[in-house]
């Protein structure tokens, strides 16, 4: 990989201004959320594992990039500190697949993450 490439691992996120590549692999049921401000040339990518940070004991410090509801505000905040503006942000989302065919009720983990991902 080139020097200008940042690899985002699972439950991780990265932001970059101007030239560069941010990449993640092996999403499976995880959801990759890419945000881009084409005016200010700021991009960000999050590889989100779980939907809701309520699962986590709030008294402890935890990895905010792991959960959809905490990762996206964090991602946007980091992009804003690089000069991105909310009104310019465009999102592309990938992943959330159902690799295993579970016969279970309710929605898949990928759908759960997407539901939690909506930010105003």
């Amino acid at each position: 990989m080139e020097d200008n490439t940042i690899k985002v691992k699972i439950a991780d996120l990265a932001v970059k201004k101007n030239e560069g590549v941010i990449v993640t692999v092996g999403l499976g049921s995880c959801v990759g959320i890419a945000l881009y401000d084409s005016v200010n040339k700021v991009g960000g990518l999050a590889h989100i594992l779980l939907a809701d940070s309520k699962l986590q004991n709030k008294n402890e410090s935890f990895n905010k990039a792991k959960f959809a509801d905490t990762a996206i505000p964090l991602l946007i905040g980091k992009m804003e500190s690089l000069g991105a503006e909310r009104k310019n942000l465009r999102a592309k989302i990938a992943g959330g697949s159902q690799l295993f065919n579970f016969q279970k009720k309710g929605i898949s983990i990928g759908e759960k993450i997407l539901l939690q991902s909506s930010v105003s």
Binding site: K9, I10, A11, D12, V25, G26, L27, G28, S29, C30, L49, L50, L55, Q56, E60, F62, N63, K66, S97, L99, F100, N101, F102, I109
Partner: protein, 201 residues
């Protein structure tokens, strides 16, 4: 973080448990393959950062077949039997001579069944040693990048710990050229119970 610190002693105990359990599972596989000799690497028990877990089977972008079985009951455990696509084909042709080893309905069914038998023997051994009641769910299979399969398993299990305990071993059959990995992910609650049964907590 886990609710308690996992020390080397505990990892050693898990390794021994996996050694006996997977040993049983590999014996079953050998019987399936007509008493073929199988080399089994001694299992490794490691505490890895969650972010590195998808790389635990090597290159995470390599397509593999993964059979996933979740055991519930007294504790929750996940067992993943992962084969390279070549090995999967070799396993299928070995068990159903005359087929090309493709991942059609029959091929998939063979892999699932082998995963089921392996996991069954493993759980049986663990259950005998610990007295825990372990009920396997019907196996599921996916063909995808190895990293995607491991991340999906972690998501399905809602792993919230930043470090995961992974028990891993590699097996290799001598003639039929099947290389496989067995990966076991106990959840935090399972570890606590297992350690207290073993007198480590």
């Amino acid at each position: 973080m886990h609710a308690f610190k996992i020390d080397d002693n505990m990892l050693d105990a898990l390794k021994e448990l996996a050694n006996i359990g997977i040993g049983n599972a590999v014996t079953s596989l050998s019987q399936l393959l007509g008493e073929e000799k199988i080399n089994m690497v001694i299992p490794v028990a490691t505490l890895v950062p969650l972010q590195d877990a998808p790389e635990s089977l090597g290159e995470e972008e390599i397509p593999v077949a993964g059979v996933y079985i979740k055991a519930a009951g007294d504790v929750d455990l996940t067992v993943l039997f992962v084969l390279s696509l070549d090995s999967a084909a070799n396993l299928i042709t070995n068990l159903i001579p005359g087929t090309k080893g493709g991942l059609d309905q029959m091929g998939i069914s063979v892999l699932i069944e082998v995963g089921n038998i392996l996991t069954g023997s493993y759980l049986n051994a663990v259950s005998l040693m610990t007295g825990l009641n372990l009920l396997p769910s019907p196996p599921q299979i996916a063909v995808d990048m190895s990293g995607a399969i491991i991340s999906t398993v972690m998501a399905e299990n809602q792993l919230i710990d930043d470090e995961v305990v992974l028990l891993r071993t590699t097996i290799r059959t001598m003639e039929s050229r099947i290389d496989g990995n067995i990966l076991i992910l106990p959840d935090g609650g399972a570890l606590e119970k297992i350690f207290s049964i073993l007198g480590l907590r």
